[in-house]
Symmetry: C2
Subunit: 371 residues, 2 copies
């Protein structure tokens, strides 16, 4: 039942049919023609090759403008409600790839206002604190100093509010009801918020005093916000932002996306090697009921969360991934070994990330944008 899943910025449930989502949202799949165009600028990222980054809006236009010498800016962001996990990091890896390949600016929004208004238990102090904590994770990704501006909504509000209310004037409650599934019980801050999410798409144009194209790499669950942004952009005198959408990092539990609310099947950037090993050790796999059975008939990588992890993130080499798949299907590798190999890769990545995150504390002020 393709209709049996829900994807909005505020709710993701059911098993997502990503092809169906493209139809539902009215986006386009990234085709070989687009990949070819991107390949002129740099190597095609494994997430593109594997259709993990798989959908877009107006990406041709962004490339056309770029080819004419009209550089775009990147805009992505994070709702700072707690520590960062691998599901958050995945689109940032891809964003960094885009920054490197196209040598462009990045606006990184921390929606501290949003998370405060949507989470009963979070205070403004909490979301501000997490904004700065999460900024360290962003910087640790290696984004370019001088070309990367990270900001908290509440700290750039003097610049953002006048743009936000121009956006808000063009969005009525019917629209946010339909797009986000809001109702009369939603607080009026949450209703207003999508206008704040639109603003960064227009920031460079405001700062430059002329229209600058904007490309938003994000999880496809965030697309509804930017459908609204695109609907109002031209009426405000800006270009519609283009989008490039990633699938959502799967949970280690075998169904659904990696989520902060499911701690045991989610790997945070602050997890220790021991914790990571335990979580991956407990992961849902496509293994057979017994070692004998698996040696005989093989496992099923298509349903295996460990294999998904390698595919999405940790084994970017296509040949290595194909070999692993083959070994699994033929019973040449058992789940324990496979988990161990993934755990080693994840631990290496996270330890490296933690080191860079620690160093980021020295340079955070070079990245923060305030008004």
């Amino acid at each position: 039942m393709a209709e049996d899943f829900i994807v909005t910025p505020y709710q993701v449930s059911g098993d997502i049919d990503y092809d169906e989502l493209v139809k539902r949202f009215g986006t386009k799949k990234i085709d070989s023609n687009l990949l070819k165009r991107i390949s002129k600028h740099g190597e095609i990222h494994s997430m593109l090759r594997r259709q993990i980054v798989y959908s877009h809006r107006d990406l041709e236009w962004i490339l056309n403008e770029y080819d004419k010498g009209n550089k775009f800016v990147l805009y992505t962001g994070r709702g700072p409600s707690g520590p960062v996990h691998l599901g958050h990091l995945m689109p940032w890896v891809f964003t960094k790839y885009l920054q490197d390949v196209f040598d462009v600016k990045l606006y990184f929004q921390m929606t501290d206002d949003e998370k405060f208004m949507f989470y009963d238990k979070l205070t403004m102090e909490d979301t501000k604190k997490w904004g700065y904590e999460n900024a360290l994770d962003v910087i640790a990704m290696g984004f370019k100093k001088g070309k990367t501006k990270i900001f908290l909504d509440t700290e750039l509000i003097k610049t953002m509010y006048p743009i936000a209310i121009r956006a808000a004037k063009k969005i009525n409650f019917s629209t946010v009801k339909a797009v986000f599934g809001f109702d009369n019980s939603n607080n009026i801050g949450s209703i207003f918020f999508t206008s704040m999410q639109s603003v960064p798409a227009f920031l460079e144009s405001e700062f430059e005093g002329k229209n600058v194209p904007c490309l938003i790499p994000c999880g496809i669950d965030q697309d509804p916000h930017f459908r609204i942004t695109r609907d109002i952009a031209e009426g405000l005198g800006y270009y519609k932002p283009a989008l490039i959408h990633a699938k959502l990092m799967p949970s280690l539990g075998g169904s659904g996306k990696m989520s902060s609310s499911k701690a045991d099947t989610t790997i945070w950037t602050t997890d220790s090697a021991k914790t990571i090993k335990k979580k991956i050790g407990d992961a849902f796999t496509g293994g057979a009921v017994s070692v004998e059975e698996q040696r005989k008939s093989g496992g099923d990588p298509d349903v295996c969360s460990v294999f998904q992890y390698d595919q999405y993130f940790f084994l970017p080499d296509d040949k290595a991934l194909q070999e692993l798949k083959h070994k699994c299907k033929t019973g040449a590798i058992l789940c324990g070994e496979c988990k161990q190999a993934l755990a080693d890769r994840v631990i290496t990545f996270i330890e490296h990330h933690q080191e860079r995150r620690e160093k980021a504390k020295d340079s955070i002020e070079d990245f923060m944008l305030r008004d």
Copy 2:
């Protein structure tokens, strides 16, 4: 039919039954006991004596705190959508009286964001311009320099936004639907706005780092905003603001309130003597059908807009007002003479106001608050 009128910040229609409004809104009438308490601090203002300022919320509490040495701050404001008329000025006259009698600070809010979001044709530049134009009218009233802070929402947003979203988190769409009559077609900025209108009630507490009582003098049509403010105040850790409500300045047309949308029956602070004379000359009165008839049976001051003007604003001397009333009722004065006398008073007031408004241009920076 007492139910035949509507009073909200966004709609005033029908003939207002002010006693009924007190019941509908759940406010209290200002009684002789309260007047006696105010009289300890200064002369009772004609608007209080005549029950033009007639209703309140928690005024006893404000006076109790004041008597204990705990001074309140005043908060009032203006939606800067165009020039100021006498209907706007009336509560400011009363606000100045309160500032003088109690020697207290005033926060004066210019809701440039609100007017932009509620009026299709107004741009941000328009409402900002009117914010500064109207600030000159405020300063011309003679508010105390150093104790009066005037601000545009968009220019104090860094301070206001964090408080506004704390307020917004506690207000849902059901509430603004019920209180303001909003529906799905309202834009999401207008839905959010009431949280910005709450903020100035808490500003002094924020600046002082301790709770400071706040008294809001305003037209009773603005009470719905502050019902919401009062509902959420304690949950945010602040005192509920107290209110003191004025009736709405009547139109020169004989029914309804003075309104920017009815230019011919509204006197602006920028009107020339000639224009004022013409508008008052054309005003609806309680005069009889002919001079002979009026000399014989007298006029009806209770339905006369000229008499209302004297009563609300321009003849603060009770004895003079009673004499005028008597003369009218006995046919000793005709409408022409009465209009001429009012026009003289209004012209004197406006010319004096215009002079002070011109001088205000030199001191505006002493009054403006920005962050």
